[in-house]
Symmetry: C2
């Protein structure tokens, strides 16, 4: 320990907790500056004017021989009127404003988390990664020289000079949409304003006086579902989340029918473009309203989507994505003005589009990679993002392969008789009793399991309106486990005799999942033979794509599987494995996450360096064209059947009656995942 | 002379005429490259592909001992098929394509003007300055690798790579509005396209195949008149010019009433803004249609205007310009997307706004300075730009003073009984017979003078609809010269008895300028006592402003006077001096130009370095606040009277009967300036 304070009387050791970073600073240095010199960045919007209160610290009193110092409050200059009144006004005790307190002796200082400049948030992804909050935009408070006669400069030049003098910002540009209000805002704030900066380059907004609050939108434009997360860009918190059906569905359910619509209908592309822009504006209105702000508070956005959604959003006809050689218009990331896309955020708001990977692998997949970070692992990771197409990522930090598999939209509830988007009322969980063949189920928007044995009346919010992706996977897996369908996927005529739950329309069987008493439509909800076939085709495509990448990489087993998808509910890893969606892997190491693409968008929204990382990764991953591989068709045909579940789960019989084998991580999001009545 | 060719067999001397630049180049170098090495830039769009034909040169045959070389056609590689077919197709003989011809011996080459990369055009300004054509945009032809399966790059990345490889252009960005058509254009041109670049930084347009033609718009937004010049940005030529009334006039004739309208009316600013944008779009439609192109061919624009027009154009409420300290929102030049202003040019078109000088001295005045270049002269120059306000520039390369004088719109025909904008039918020239007091006149749109003595019937286009700025100045100056008004500006009761041309409405006299037989309205066109007063006030304000600057600079005489103004017709220097608009100066050195502000916009449109020059000059000139100067009011009152013309022009009596004393430069634009019948 350096204890040379007796020799160097003009400098003192300061230790900052919890990082433990330490250094010597000159007597009289304020703590904001001292922390910066020691390498700990404190938050500050007002620039040391003792008004924003962002740089609060705690002075540890007493003698700390372990740290080699003796700290006391009187080792700092005493608080003056402004600092005292700040803390009185906010009812806070025992803290100091770092910008006001000058170092007069040895100090041990604790920097509370909220005062750290680059806050850390946990990414809501499988890997529980920590994301440093370092967004593309920030706010600074600045005091401008008032206009006087004889100074020909405009208000913008005066503001510009003040930003250079007070914050060292040079050569800033200003968005043309800021000009119309600049003079009014400066006068309203008596020439004190808060400026929102983009990448330390461009001024996006000027607000009167001291102002706090920057918000951004992370958006995943899926073929079926569009999800938007409103984030506080200072704290990193998700303020509100909303999802909506992609209204393009009315012009074609899968991607190729939309490509065809855009190409053949005279106004097709314009309609598809307007539909998605309209929905984005609508979602922006909803999340901001939920967060108590307005759409004009959105100052930055990150958008991901598959290649067709990406192109349509930009007004690019996706015709080339529908025919060989599947040429993208561009694959680079884009920095745009939101208004140039027709997005009604702040008039000067920015929008970032993550890069694409190849003709069939889009920015949504880049988002998934950002969120799950297989490129930062040693383990071989398989990440499957199940949407209208399935994107498959396989590998680790050495090499990452990516492919797209044409699963179709069955996993999203489309092409299923009673399928629906994940929304309140949709069945998301299913358990079938092996003896009675009766199903218990749970719908989105209600925490209780509904069982035909229940005597109590069913609350209206528990009534089923249909079945969504996670529900259909569980239902069919359970049907297989209890023997309603056999390994070929055929609804077994024998099962009909035992329970009356299976009935026939001509030669095709169907399973009555929900009786009409529990159905919001008044008609029973059934799983038909065609529904089973649709899921078989989808899962075979997914499995074949995975096997192709594994063969390409020369491996037979993966260490970890991440199941991603904007399903409303996480996929059950157990049922996914029963159905054969994914290759063999210890069930403990199979993790289901929700909308990983949206999480990736959120990560890129919160951290600017993740946008650069995204571009590097997008260019580094190796794209494997699945339809080109001769083995794909063979694997596809081989994967149509259902696997022998007992091979995978030798103790299945013991597991089933007790419900799912739980994994803390799998069940992270929903607590009540077991049927309540059992 | 270096005649070392015998020693250095692998290099030869090449002389390029008419510049006379010379240098040695290696054997086999093509002439395009050779010229570049010698420092003469030849035009090329196709980048040496022998297709654009822009780099044509003439090989001088024979022995040229004066130049120290012996040139002959066989000192160049013979033309091959593509070059031969190019010249055959275009019916050209005796020329070579520089990009195809390789140097094999000593050469004397003439570079025709059209092949020089930076063409020179004469600025249509008083100084006859030469402007080098070096605009902010240029076109390059590029051949792109077609898309193939296995290449994940997008078309944009392939185009980008081709631009780097073939033209050395790195780090280009591309306007988001280009994406929607990129793939179609590339395929239409079979992956050969012509790219329009802005400042070597951004791609504004991609056209299929080889394409030629870049156009820009230079605009002067005056309070009363908006003028637009469509320019060919490759040749520098003005393709078409159109002017229109500023429709904001309906919301207030002078600037202060528009400021008031914008401030007090709820939708005032939006209306004013839409009015000017609408007119700019309308003018763009007219000039492009006259030039045989469309609005989307406009890819760059430079706009000038006074400070109020500038702010309204940007959607900025001009309220601060109407009250002390007259703070501008900004005074820096601006580079914007035309679409962000609502301008319907090419979707990606750029717009540049020249800088402002001070609260009352706008970009129009910067345009005037660019056009007349007083900052490049040794002589003391006075430049007066007469619009709704008059801007006055005084000085030379040592120092330049600038002021704005509140003349009001009388010089533009407003506030005058039969005043009108300069448009067909407006009287622009007037001569009054000192004996009969009858006037001859000429209207815009007709080259003949109309005289009451004429026996022939008057053609319809010669009928007068009203009187415009240059007409009113001449009319009142002539009225003074022949004694209809006295030095106080009073219509002289005595003059009524002699001719019957002066009549009274109550106690106020009026002069009948045009009898009803020659008036398109069917009523006589008169100059009233109030009209004379309005002009007196305006000219006194102008003169007082000039005197203030002269006093400030400590001079009593100026060497040269430039009278600028968008009047439709040039002001007659003689009549301006008779009225006392300008201080004493040899009439030979008084020059009238038209819309110098618009000329300045055109110069900045054609030459990018002139935009930087404009910014430097705008910051360098010294602004003098006229209303602040105590002496201004004194000078104003003193200048209300008309000067004694005979003091200035002792031989006036001999001049008048013979018409105007002519000056070649003053009369440059219009040839028939004397009354034809005399």
């Amino acid at each position: 320990m350096d204890r040379s304070k007796d020799i160097q009387n003009d400098s003192y050791q300061v230790i900052l907790m919890p990082s433990g970073r330490r250094g010597r600073v000159k007597r009289g240095t304020d703590l904001l500056q001292a922390a910066a010199e020691i390498g700990v960045e404190l938050e500050s919007i007002c620039g040391g004017r003792q008004t924003c209160g962002k740089c609060q610290v705690i002075v540890e009193n007493g003698h700390f021989p372990k740290h080699g110092i003796s700290s006391a409050a009187d080792h700092l200059s005493p608080p003056k009127e402004q600092e005292i009144s700040y803390f009185q006004e906010h009812g806070i005790r025992g803290r100091r404003l770092a910008c006001a307190a000058e170092v007069l002796g040895e100090l041990l200082i604790t920097v509370p988390e909220e005062s750290q400049a680059r806050k850390q948030v946990i990414a809501k992804a499988a890997s529980d990664r920590v994301i440093e909050v370092d967004p593309a935009v920030r706010q600074v408070y600045v005091e401008v020289e008032p206009a006087i006669l004889g100074d020909p400069r405009g208000d913008w030049e005066r503001l510009s000079a003040a930003l250079e003098k007070q914050w060292g910002l040079r050569g800033l540009s200003i968005d043309s949409q800021v000009f119309p209000h600049l003079q009014e805002v400066l006068r309203e704030g008596e020439f004190k304003v808060t400026v929102t900066l983009w990448q330390e380059k461009e001024i996006l907004r000027v607000q009167p006086g001291y102002s706090e609050g920057i918000f951004g939108l992370a958006v995943d434009v899926g073929s079926t579902t569009i999800a938007a997360h409103l984030c506080d860009l200072r704290t990193g918190e998700v303020v509100a989340t909303q999802a909506a059906m992609n209204p393009q569905v009315r012009y074609g359910e899968d991607l190729m029918s939309r490509v065809s619509y855009a190409t053949t209908e005279p106004q097709g592309l314009a309609r598809l473009n307007r539909a998605v822009i309209h929905t984005l504006n609508d979602l922006a209105g909803k999340v901001t309203s939920a967060g108590g702000i307005t759409k004009t508070d959105i100052i930055d956005a990150v958008i991901v989507g598959n290649t067709v959604m990406h192109h349509i959003l930009l007004g690019i006809n996706p015709v080339e994505l529908g025919r060989a050689p599947f040429a993208l218009a561009l694959f680079s990331p884009l920095d745009l003005k939101a208004r140039d896309l027709g997005l009604g955020f702040n008039p000067a708001a920015r929008t970032h589009l993550l890069p694409l990977i190849a003709g069939h692998v889009g920015a949504d997949n880049v988002g998934v990679i950002l969120a799950e970070a297989p490129h930062e692992q040693d383990e071989i990771m398989l990440v499957v993002d199940v949407g209208t197409n399935a994107e498959i990522v396989l590998g680790n930090r050495q090499q990452l392969l990516v492919a797209s598999s044409p699963t179709g939209p069955a996993f999203e509830g489309a092409q299923i008789t009673h399928g629906q988007r994940a929304a309140p009322g949709a069945i998301e969980r299913v358990r079938i009793d092996p003896k009675t063949l009766q199903a218990q189920f749970r719908v989105i928007g209600c925490d209780s399991w509904i069982s035909p044995d229940d005597k109590e009346p069913v609350p209206p919010e528990a009534m089923a309106t249909g079945i969504c992706g996670s529900g259909i996977i569980e239902a069919i897996a359970e049907m297989f486990l209890v023997g309603i369908i056999n390994a070929n996927g055929l609804i077994d005529p024998d099962s009909s005799s035992t329970s009356g739950r299976v009935r026939y329309q001509g030669r095709a069987g169907e399973y009555v999942l929900v009786d009409k008493e529990y159905s919001a439509t008044g008609s029973p909800i059934v799983i038909t033979q065609n529904d089973v076939r649709a899921i078989q085709l989808a899962k075979a495509a997914l499995y074949a794509g995975t096997k192709l990448l594994m063969a390409n990489r020369g491996i037979e087993r993966v260490d970890r599987v991440v199941l991603a998808g904007a399903f409303g509910s996480y996929i059950s890893p157990f049922h996914a494995m029963v159905l054969g969606l994914i290759p063999d892997c210890d069930l403990e190491n199979v993790v289901a996450v929700g909308n990983a693409a949206g999480d990736g968008a959120r990560i890129a929204l919160l951290n600017i360096s993740q946008r650069q990382k995204a571009e590097q990764v997008a260019r580094w991953v190796q794209y494997v064209e699945t339809p080109l591989a001769a083995s794909f068709q063979d694997e596809f045909v081989a994967a149509l059947n259902l696997p022998h579940a007992s091979d995978k789960f030798p103790h299945l019989e013991q597991i089933i009656p007790n419900g799912l084998p739980t994994s803390a991580r799998t069940e992270r999001r929903r607590k009540k995942d077991r049927p309540g009545g059992r």
